[in-house]
């Protein structure tokens, strides 16, 4: 079953804390239950997005590395 992506965010080339700040803004624009897919190249974003989701109560569905990109799927709660 594939996850329906409501919005995508390209945060590639951006460094800490911009991927988090952009993610926060993008999540504000989707509805509860919808999924945001964010792509970043900052290696720090792996841990940072995990921590962001834990703090804000949003659900990190997946975090994967595709080449030099890190792809995150976050469900808004």
């Amino acid at each position: 079953m594939s996850i329906e992506i409501a919005q995508t965010l390209d945060a590639r080339g951006l460094n800490c804390p911009l991927p988090i700040l952009r993610t926060k803004k993008a999540i504000a624009q989707i509805e509860t239950g919808q999924v945001l897919e964010m792509t970043a190249t900052d290696p720090g974003s792996l841990k940072d997005i995990e921590s962001f989701c834990a703090q804000t109560g949003n659900e990190l569905l997946s975090a994967s590395q595709q080449g030099s990109d890190y792809v995150f799927q976050i469900r808004k709660h």
């Binding site: 951006l14 460094n15 804390p17 911009l18 988090i20 700040l21 962001f52 703090q55 804000t56």
Partner: protein, 194 residues
């Protein structure tokens, strides 16, 4: 005679009940609480402008309440026209690299003595930051303002350096002294001095 003895509850089970209830109540309280942070920003150089704005914007993205008290040289970070500089003088740990990553083969103590070096170092660092996708201070400050980070300015510093309030961004919430800031810091979960 107290009420506990009246109902003849063994002390051990009462302690156990209380510990459980206490943990539960504390967890409920923590979950309902909005975390908060206060930062005191005292430096006005390009390098030292980053920590307060990065931490404040990130904390607000995490849903925290944040306020920053800008005092002494930190007040420069609230000027409408930012012209922040960084210098290798007295900053021996500062790596001096060209924007292409090449190291300049000279000790920072020698570089710092060259006339105009501060301007060169500042523009090189800004260029490197841009190349690496690091936000400018202007951008981070704007994000903080958007996220309702409370910017508080030290009144004494303005008087001391003879600044005019029109030199600063209009988003400054208050011009106050230490006695106004400390009660906010007292209640905050995180207090930082930069």
């Amino acid at each position: 005679m107290n009420a506990v003895q009246d109902i003849n509850l063994p002390q051990d089970s009462l302690d156990e009940w209380f510990d459980q209830k206490f943990d539960q109540k504390m967890a409920e309280r923590d979950a309902a609480k909005t975390p908060s942070m206060t930062i005191i920003a005292t430096k006005g150089t390009l390098d030292m402008a980053y920590p307060p704005f990065i931490l404040a914007s990130t904390a607000s993205a995490l849903g925290w309440d944040v306020s920053i008290f800008f005092t002494f040289y930190g007040l420069n970070l609230l000027k409408s026209d930012l012209d922040l500089k960084v210098t290798p003088l007295g900053n021996p740990a500062m790596p001096m690299k060209l924007p292409n990553g090449a190291e300049i083969p000279m000790p920072t103590s020698v570089m710092a003595l060259l006339p105009g070096f501060e301007g060169l170092a500042s523009s090189m660092m800004k260029k490197t930051m841009q190349n690496k996708g690091i936000a400018s201070i202007e951008e981070l400050r704007e994000l903080c303002v958007e996220a309702d980070v409370k910017m508080v300015a030290c009144q004494m510093t303005v008087d001391l350096f003879g600044y005019g309030k029109e030199e600063f961004i209009p988003e400054i919430k208050e011009w106050v002294g230490a006695a106004s800031f400390l009660p906010t810091a007292l209640k905050a979960d995180v207090n930082l001095f930069v």
